[in-house]
């Protein structure tokens, strides 16, 4: 028995040698095996991830602590016992929502217009019905529209979206179709009597559809509206001043059946953005008014070091067909040249160039006074160049011309400095600006101090 189970020296030595060889092989191959399985490298990666995570947890303290797990299992069990669709299942929160707001508008054509607007929505995904109704004491008439609007955006990317809207009714609008600042125009008209816009009435329906994705958008619109002139009915203002412009320039009467196509995109590999818009009316579209209107704009913000931005922008627009006052291209004011009276020049061609050098940070941060202020005041210096052409030299009203570019004598220029504040509301990109501009070259224009509310790249407005 002993002989059977005993260990003979030769066999024992062989077994030990084999074991030693296996151990050695294991020792030598271990790192390679580990590498093959990813254990060593993954350990290094894991420990790096852990160290980064630890430093984050240290910074965020209480916020980074794991939740107390007591009671969670039983809550889950209870939740799972209920069928999907019961109250414990997440839903998009579809419910009826009603909103309403009062409206008060004032201009010399309709006087004071009192009313209200409202909207009715059922959840976010079914769109909303909207409407407004105003009574204007000037013409003693009612204005109002009703319509439907829907917007759907990608859950993960708000910029991937489409929208559709349709509205019908009667409204009063400015003859200047390109730029209109509702708040400042209201203050000019109601308080000081310095509003230089003229107005018309539009009755009919308008609709548009828009698609957008990151850095690109396109819009298709159609309107069929009867356009009619308005006359001045209110010559008063709060300060009792004489009106800067009393007559309301009359619009041409007629039905406009118009298609609008607009698109915009970022220029690849640059911070520039371009937009084009075309309006076409008459011809096969029907209606009484026939015109073609085009507008193209390009602009962008270039960083100059950590504290400065350079923002060039240009716009070119052209009107052909019938040169009607409600489709003319206006020049002057905060959207072109500050030293030219707002809306004082009109034509069938317009070119505008504007460059600005502005601080990116508030002055408070630049001088080291306050790192983050609630009122970051930015500074800027700008220069502008603009021209309009295609007008009757005697009356200044727009006139059809085959010329696509202004003569050298038609260019006007100015320079100026700005103090700006961007509150972030209601439009996150708009600035409240105080600009001081003076004309360049021989001219009878005068230097002006101007208060306005606009985006830095205001020529790229989405028409």
């Amino acid at each position: 028995m002993n002989a059977q189970h005993g260990t003979r020296p030769g066999a024992r030595a062989r077994r030990l040698t084999a074991l030693a060889a296996v151990a050695l092989a294991a020792a030598l191959l271990a790192p390679h095996a580990a590498r093959a399985q990813g254990a060593l490298p993954d350990t290094a990666l894991k420990s790096w991830v852990r160290s980064m995570s630890d430093s984050t947890a240290e910074y965020f303290g209480l916020s980074a602590q794991p939740p107390d797990t007591a009671g969670l299992d039983s809550a889950l069990e209870e939740g799972l016992a209920k069928p999907p669709g019961s109250r414990n299942v997440f839903r998009t929160g579809r419910r009826l929502a009603l909103s309403a707001a009062p409206i008060f508008e004032f201009n010399r054509a309709v006087g004071a217009a009192y009313g209200a607007s409202g909207a009715l929505a059922y959840g976010h995904d079914l769109g909303r019905l909207r409407g407004s109704l105003q009574w204007a004491n000037g013409p003693d008439d009612w204005y109002g529209t009703g319509g439907y609007a829907i917007r759907r955006a990608d859950f993960d990317d708000e910029e991937r979206a489409w929208s559709f809207e349709v509205d019908a009714g009667r409204r009063f609008e400015s003859l200047n179709r390109d730029h209109y600042s509702a708040f400042f125009t209201f203050v000019d008209a109601f308080v000081y009597g310095t509003d230089r816009h003229s107005y018309l009435q539009r009755d009919g329906v308008r609709t548009s559809a828009r698609v957008s994705t990151t850095g690109r958008w396109a819009e298709l619109g159609y309107r069929n509206e009867l356009e009619s002139p308005l006359v001045t009915t209110a010559t008063w203002n709060l300060l009792g001043r004489r009106l800067t412009l009393e007559p309301n320039a009359p619009a041409a009467f007629g039905r406009a059946s118009e298609v609008r196509l607009a698109a915009g995109a970022q220029v690849p590999r640059t911070p520039l953005e371009a937009s084009v818009t075309a309006w076409n009316a008459g011809g096969a579209l029907g209606g009484d008014l026939g015109y073609h209107r085009y507008l193209a704009a390009l602009g962008g913000g270039f960083g100059l070091g950590p504290h400065l931005a350079f923002t060039p922008q240009v716009e070119y627009s052209r009107l052909t067909g019938a040169a009607l006052p409600q489709d003319a291209l206006y020049l002057g004011g905060s959207y072109s040249l500050l030293t030219v009276e707002p809306q004082s020049l009109a034509g069938t061609g317009r070119a505008v160039a504007h460059v600005e050098l502005m601080t990116l940070d508030g002055v408070q941060r630049l001088v080291g006074w306050k790192e983050d202020s609630a009122f970051p005041i930015q500074l800027g210096a700008f220069a502008g160049l603009a021209a309009r052409w295609g007008y009757d030299p005697a009356t200044g009203v727009p006139r059809v011309t085959p010329r696509d570019w202004p003569g050298s004598e038609q260019w006007m220029s100015e320079a100026g400095v700005s103090v700006m504040f961007r509150p972030g509301l209601p439009d996150p990109e708009s600035y409240l600006r105080i600009d001081y501009a003076w004309p360049l070259g021989p001219t009878d224009r005068e230097a002006k101090l101007y208060l306005s509310w606009k985006r830095t790249l205001y020529l790229l407005g989405r028409h």
């Binding site: 040698t17 790096w48 916020s63 969670l72 939740g79 999907p84 509150p423 996150p428």
Partner: protein, 291 residues
């Protein structure tokens, strides 16, 4: 015999101290390398002429790596914790204001079920006056909060640079910095991501905003961090933190708050049952017999 025993002992010792040893609990320290400091020599530099991966190629691979990660996810479940902490960076002690815990199940193409597990508030509001922080999760499992700046479309909006590289085991991790092309884009953040070049997936992201989007109310976002963790073969969201400072003190919160979102207890591609998402069909009504 003595020699054999010595070899055996040496072998076992080597095997025992090898980094592959699974018996050692906790983190394994990296291998220690001896430093020879008695002998100095210089070798001429070796110039490597191999083609280096360009930034554009890296960006293409990151976009592809993230898309591949997304496409391989069929379903997932996780515990979602949303936490709001007030007085986060003030002299006062930070204070938990609100905590929401939910179990979330998601399945392709866009099915989602959320089961609330706990809702806690330091001061529950009166009925009808509730103003919650709610994190919405759609049915898709794309993690745009991590890769928004590295999707193909985003190349139009951001500019990129390689901020650093580091070797971790046999992983090469690139640190890529991005910032908006236009300096006027106040809503687009700048930031850095760490990318594992083994599968070109983002491991971590730090985000900064040059300017406050709404300076009147929001003083700034001091720091925002997005972390991922590895679950099986996938890198998935782990934690999202943001520290926000306001210009005016808010009730319970003060002038600084932390928003923390935490993702725990993942299950990935386990084949979640239909019953999680679809209510059982109602029993069919008995047919009229005509009598």
């Amino acid at each position: 015999m003595r020699t054999l025993s010595a070899i055996l002992l040496a072998g076992l010792l080597l095997a025992a101290t090898s980094p592959a040893t699974p018996a050692t609990p906790g983190p394994v320290p990296p291998p220690a390398l001896a430093v020879e400091d008695t002998m100095h020599t210089e070798v001429p530099p070796v110039f490597v002429n191999a083609k280096r991966v360009t930034l554009d190629e890296i960006l293409d691979r990151v976009a592809a790596g993230e898309a591949r990660r997304d496409s391989l996810l069929e379903d997932q479940g996780y515990q979602l914790t949303v936490r709001l902490v007030g007085h986060a960076a003030e002299r006062k002690e930070p204070r938990l204001v609100m905590e929401d815990v939910e179990r979330v199940y998601q399945r392709r193409p866009n099915q989602v079920r959320r089961i609330p597990l706990r809702h806690w508030e330091a001061k529950p509001p009166k009925e009808g006056a509730r103003a919650n922080v709610k994190v919405e999760t759609g049915g898709t499992m794309n993690e745009d909060i991590v890769n928004f700046a590295f999707q193909p479309d985003a190349r139009r909006k951001f500019k990129y640079r390689i901020a650093g590289r580091q070797v971790l085991g046999d992983h090469v991790v690139y640190r890529l910095a991005f910032e908006p092309k236009s300096v006027l884009d106040v809503f687009e953040p700048s930031g850095e991501v760490w990318v594992d070049t083994r599968d070109y997936v983002i491991l971590r992201q730090e985000i900064t905003f040059r300017q406050s989007p709404v300076p009147l109310f929001l003083r700034g976002i001091d720091r925002m961090v997005v972390e991922r963790q590895r679950v099986d073969d996938f890198w998935v969201l782990s934690r999202v933190f943001a520290r926000v400072r306001t210009t005016i003190p808010l009730p319970q919160v003060g002038t600084s708050l932390d928003l923390a979102i935490r993702f725990d207890d993942y299950t990935v591609n386990t084949g979640l049952p239909d019953s999680l998402f679809v209510a059982p069909a109602a029993a069919p009504a008995p047919k009229e017999t005509g009598r």
